[in-house]
Structures are given as C-alpha cells and as structure tokens.
C-alpha cells in the first residue's frame, strides 16, 4: 500500500512520517514516532486512555486518523514537563497518590489539562464532567478528582 506523508507538531517539535493510509494517530505516535504516553486501552473510543490534545481540543487518538492531523499541533502527556520540572497536574497526581497501575493516567491528565485550560477554577462537578470519558480501574476516581482540584488551586496561586 502506498505510504502517505503526514506532518504535525508534537509537543513543540516538528514531526514528519510516511505512514500507511488508515493508520490511527495512536498507532503513529506509539509505533512510528515512539511517544508511548498515549495508551491503547480499548481501541474503540470507550476508555479515554489514548486521549491527546489536538489544536487545543481533547481527542481520542485511537479514533483519529494520523493523516487527518496534517498541520495540527498535538500535545501528549510526555510533553508536559519542562526541563525536568513536572507540570502542576503531574505533580498533583503524584502528591495525591492518584495513580496505581498508571494506565489511565496520561489520558486523565490530558482531559484535566483541557479542562483547566478552559476553566482555570473548576468546581468538583466540572472536574467530574471532564473526566467522565476516562475509565480508571484502580483508584476509585476520588484521588484523581482531588489531584485536578489541587492543580487548579496551585495554578491560580501561581497566577496571582
């Protein structure tokens, strides 16, 4: 099958790959580019583990064709820390023990980041709504909700 060229910005770096037509963004990121932070949970859009941010919007990379991302700006969890300093959401997830096996964590953090980008001071209900497309097996969700609320508070303190 003919390869298709695809070019996008991933976590601030230009990426160009030749891929098979029909390749999902999840597959391209993990197996072509080597960014394994998006996880393949269900591969059918029901678990949220593969969530990434495309042009500022939360997207399921398992249901997104890589070739549809030409020219897009993509952010994944592996691009959040800067020079070894964790993003406030990553810090809050660690401090709140909001991860156990860790498989849902990158998707949770992506969903939380989009929420905080749009709603810097979310209510608990906002957080619950934002995480409602992401499944977690281990934590019972409460530590994750608390981590997102903590990150929002630390963001607003830094901004003040």
């Amino acid at each position: 099958m003919a390869k298709v060229p695809v070019q996008f910005t991933l976590n601030g770096a230009e990426k160009a790959e030749f891929i098979d037509s029909g390749t999902t963004l999840l597959h391209a990121l993990r197996d072509k580019i080597g960014d394994t932070s998006p996880k393949g949970g269900c591969h059918q859009g029901t678990c949220g583990a593969c969530s990434v941010i495309i042009d500022g919007e939360l997207r399921l990379s398992c249901l997104t064709l890589a070739e549809a991302c030409n020219g897009a700006t993509i952010i994944t969890t592996s691009g959040l820390s800067e020079r070894g300093v964790l993003h406030p959401l990553q810090r809050a997830f660690l401090d709140a023990f909001a991860t156990q096996c860790g498989f849902c964590t990158p998707g949770m953090i992506m969903a939380a980041k989009v929420l905080l980008d749009h709603t810097p001071n979310p209510s608990r209900e906002d957080v619950v709504e934002a995480l409602s497309g992401n499944i977690c097996r281990c934590t019972g969700y409460e530590p994750i909700i608390q981590a997102v609320l903590t990150a929002a508070r630390s963001n607003s303190q830094n901004a003040a």
Binding site: C101, R137, P143
Partner: protein, 334 residues
C-alpha cells in the same frame, strides 16, 4: 411506589495468600560495587506498589535509606521463583523472603566492615543513613559505599543473600476435617447506606464506611490508596460488573466498556476509610495482605442494605434493577 432507604453491615475475615500444595516465594539480594542494593524477584508490581514496599523492607532490614535499593521484578524466566502476585500474598510472602535475603546480605556486609574496622562483626550497627558504626564508639565508622568497594575489589566477597519463604501445605485431619488454610488473616467491616427505587429497582449507594484491619501499614498512603480504590471496586462488583449476566449462558455478556459497566467519577458514594493496625505475628514487619479483601465487604453490606430498604434478598451478583424487581414481584401477595 417510593424511594426507600436502607442500611446494611457486613464483616469479613480474609486469608493472606493461598494453600494449594504449599505457597513459596523466593528473593535474592545483592549489593552493587558502590553499595546500592538490588532485590531480585519474580513477583510482579501491577500497580499495587510491590516495588516500593519491597524496597522499604529491604532497606529497613539492611539498614540503608530506601533510595539505595533497586527492585527488579522483570522476568519470571530468569528471576527467583514466586507463586505470583494474587490472593493478597505479595507483601506477606515476598516481604518475608526479602527480609531473609536482606539479613544474609547484611551479615556479609557487617563481616566485611568488621575486617576493615578490625572489630568483631557483632559489635557493629547501621545508622540507617548508609554508614556502619561501632556500637558505643560511633566515631569509628565506615560507609557502606566503602564496605562494598572493599568487598568487591579487596576481599573478594559477595554482599548478597538468599531468601525463601514457604507456607507449607496444610492437610486436613482425617477425623475432623480441620486444617490450617492460612496463617494470617486480615479483617474488614463495611456499613453501607443505600436508596432503592422500588418502582425501577435502581440502587444508589449513598455512603460506605469501611474499617480495615490490615496488620501494620508499611506505607500508610499507599494502603489508603488501595483501600479507597478497593472500596469503589466493591460497590462496582455489588451493583454493576458482570461478564455473564445469565451465566453459564453467555447471552448479553459485555464485550466492551460500553456494556461492561463500572461506575464513573460521577457515581461515587461518600466513602470513609478507617485503618486499624494489629501487626501480624508472621508478616514482614507485621504486615498482612489488604489487597483483595478491601473490595469484599461492600458487597454483602450492600446486599443487606437492599434487604433493609425493600425486604428482598438478592443472592446473585450483581444486584441489578431486574433482579430486585423480580424479587419484589415474587414477594408481592398476588
């Protein structure tokens, strides 16, 4: 037709590990040339925190900071034998094996230090910070870093130890059938408060209060994390999760996360966790296995709460609206 409230309580004993022909786990500990310690296991960390706990146990036994210990659980082809990470056995079985291995390694470490300091090994102690001191004369000391270098390059000794912890198989007595299936039990009790809609059969869990008796909590934050998540999972087992709703008939079995139901972040019950620490006699530093049992008592507590609310006993899981409505119908006078 109304929304009816009910409250249920349940208490459980939970055995740590299992007893099918004996229950062994093996561990190996060795030092690197620079005095860090490596724990080699086949026990798997699947998110419960095995690596952290084994590092703590090894560090405590040898007398070094936890960050001087690296735990390798990589490969069952090449690692020492472990029956597996299940039945809440990881901390208890592997932890005891790590203690045994770390004690042997510590003894070699002290013997090498004794030769360097020209004292008797039994006169030495560790300060927990990476140094070995002469008891009562702490100015005479040597760092574990230097001891490891000496062992490797001067004395030709391997600072290492072997650990094997085995719960032997227990056979039932022929006359009475009595046996000892486990040596260590954790305990838990849950009070659940529910609302049941007797028109739709819908159950809402308002609150669960859980008390867990888990031996000594070797890492209290990780224990809390496990118990909070487990409590949620217990509610999920009680009301939602099933692969085969008409078992053994596979019809209507869930095939994906759209059909295999779990509560999401919007469906959380008010959850309280209380930890009681009663150190176990044969556990590593008193630990028991809280892993699986933390998701157990919610199930009978919710079943009892449903009975308290609407007077029907549901004895098949999950407690679905359909099962409640069928039971209410069967109970109704005509």
């Amino acid at each position: 037709m109304a929304i009816r409230r009910g409250r249920g309580v349940a208490a459980i004993n939970y055995p740590t590990g299992m007893n099918l022909g004996g229950d062994p786990t093996q561990a190996l500990v060795h030092s690197t040339p620079t005095g860090n310690f490596m724990v080699t296991l086949s026990s798997v960390d699947l998110g419960q925190g095995m690596k952290q706990i084994m590092a703590q146990i090894c560090a405590e036994t040898i007398g070094v900071p936890t960050d001087r210990v690296v735990v390798d659980t990589a490969d069952t082809d090449t690692g020492p034998h472990c029956m597996g990470t299940f039945a809440s056995r990881g901390t208890h079985r592997a932890g005891n094996a790590v203690i045994q291995a770390a004690r042997e390694a510590r003894q070699v470490m002290l013997e090498v230090a004794a030769e360097e300091l020209e004292v008797n090994a039994s006169d030495l102690e560790t300060d927990g910070q990476g140094n070995i001191l002469v008891k009562g004369a702490p100015q005479r000391s040597i760092s574990i870093f230097d001891v490891a270098l000496s062992a490797h390059f001067k004395r030709g000794r391997s600072i290492s130890g072997r650990g094997m912890f085995l719960i032997p198989r227990s056979y039932p007595e022929k006359e009475t059938g009595a046996m000892k299936p486990s040596t260590c039990y954790a305990h838990a009790c849950t009070v659940a408060e529910v609302e049941v809609d007797d028109e739709t059969g819908e159950v809402t869990v308002l609150a669960v209060t859980n008390v867990f008796e888990i031996g000594r909590a070797l890492n209290p934050k990780m224990v809390e994390q496990q118990l909070v998540g487990g409590s949620w999972m217990g509610i999920s087992h009680a009301l939602y999760e099933t692969t085969e709703p008409y078992y053994p008939n596979r019809d209507h079995g869930g095939t994906d996360f759209n059909q295999y139901l779990m509560p999401g972040p919007g469906d959380l019950a008010r959850t309280e966790i209380i930890v009681l620490e009663r150190p176990s006699a044969d556990g590593p530093y008193g630990a028991k296995g809280p892993g699986e049992m933390c998701a157990n008592p919610q199930i009978p507590a919710i079943a009892n709460a449903v009975f308290d609310a609407v007077g029907v006993r549901i004895d098949t899981l999950p407690i679905t609206p359909e099962r409640i409505l069928r039971a209410l119908k069967a109970q109704a006078p005509n």
